[in-house]
Subunit: 149 residues, 3 copies
């Protein structure tokens, strides 16, 4: 399992570093706009940074769960690549949202698309694995043979 | 490990799909009640949907962590079954909370109970595994023999 | 993998129990200060408890992800120890924040430090593993030999 998941583990560490970066930005925004904890309301500039980080945090566990299931049951390389693109989309989302509510939309749609790709990969992987285990059919191998991989 | 966890992985994918469904409901509620991001306050109808999704998101990582530990150290079938019941309870909770603050209570207690069962299973599994490893005693096997499994 | 991760799994179960404890404290605070859901604003005493739990929940998935990667790719004992210290720091943070906004700072810095140690361990573990796999160099073993382990 270790060999098979090392790139997924690397993407996980990168994701954690990204979340740490977002959290630091909220701390800087709290200082800049003088919003002391536990208060979470303030000027729109602060609220946008706060909500951007809250939204990324909310999706983080969903991302990690689906990333690992994709890596375990579909394919490590595909899962890691989608994971990297998702993290890139989230970075653009955070920067965009910090500037304006409008600026969050394009990267939000992009990172949502990456999540859907990961959901697709993991569903395909899990269903195929069950078919292999109980029906002794391996659709993914047929597909790979078909496209000559 | 793959064979042993495929149902837990399937429940994980279902859980991610459920969270995606809840997130879409918040987007619809934002449009319906004209609450633009980053604002998170509005009419009680909106705030209930928003809080229902926030509460489910908050418990999602706890659920996934305990589900996988139960599957790995106790038993895949028991973990997956409790996981499915938990997700069903969360769906009822979301629907109930969307209608009234009162409507969230019964399914909330049900899904909390399922979480406690998973905490119990994973604690039993981890403690038994440690006893096996260091004391060479396997309580769970004795128990299974006792009830004739 | 089971033997290698049993202490990490035990720390995970402890972390889930800690989150359950924090959630119960929010329910008690809601009753004490008469703040009914979906409302999340109220007297500062309530808001501090609410924010303390929200902050711990936000970091929980980050903590679990980095704990498991550290355990899988660096070393179980080191990961579990840092994990225990992190959970202890979070408990102190919750108690401190419940009393005053100032009281959250020292344990917050402590638990943040533990997270950074875990990020360091997992990065070292993953990079070393990749070097082993593709460059056939094992830095961590050299280091262990150097310090006579």
């Amino acid at each position: 399992m270790h060999d098979q998941m090392v790139f997924v583990a690397a993407v996980t560490v990168l994701g954690v570093l990204e979340q740490a970066y977002f959290s630091l930005q909220v701390i800087y925004a709290r200082r800049k706009y003088s919003v002391s904890p536990p208060c979470i309301t303030g000027p729109p500039e602060f609220e946008r940074v706060f909500r951007a980080q809250a939204n990324c945090s909310e999706y983080f566990p969903i991302f990690i769960a689906i990333l690992w299931v994709s890596g375990l049951y579909f394919n490590q390389a595909a899962a890691s690549l989608c994971g990297l693109l998702y993290l890139y989309g989230r970075y653009q989302y955070f920067r965009g949202y910090s500037k304006s509510a409008q600026g969050r939309l394009a990267p939000l749609y992009f990172s949502a698309k990456m999540l859907w790709v990961l959901i697709g990969l993991s569903s395909a992987g899990v269903i195929n694995y069950m078919c292999q285990l109980y029906l002794e059919v391996d659709f993914l191998r047929y597909l790979k043979q078909l496209i000559g991989l």
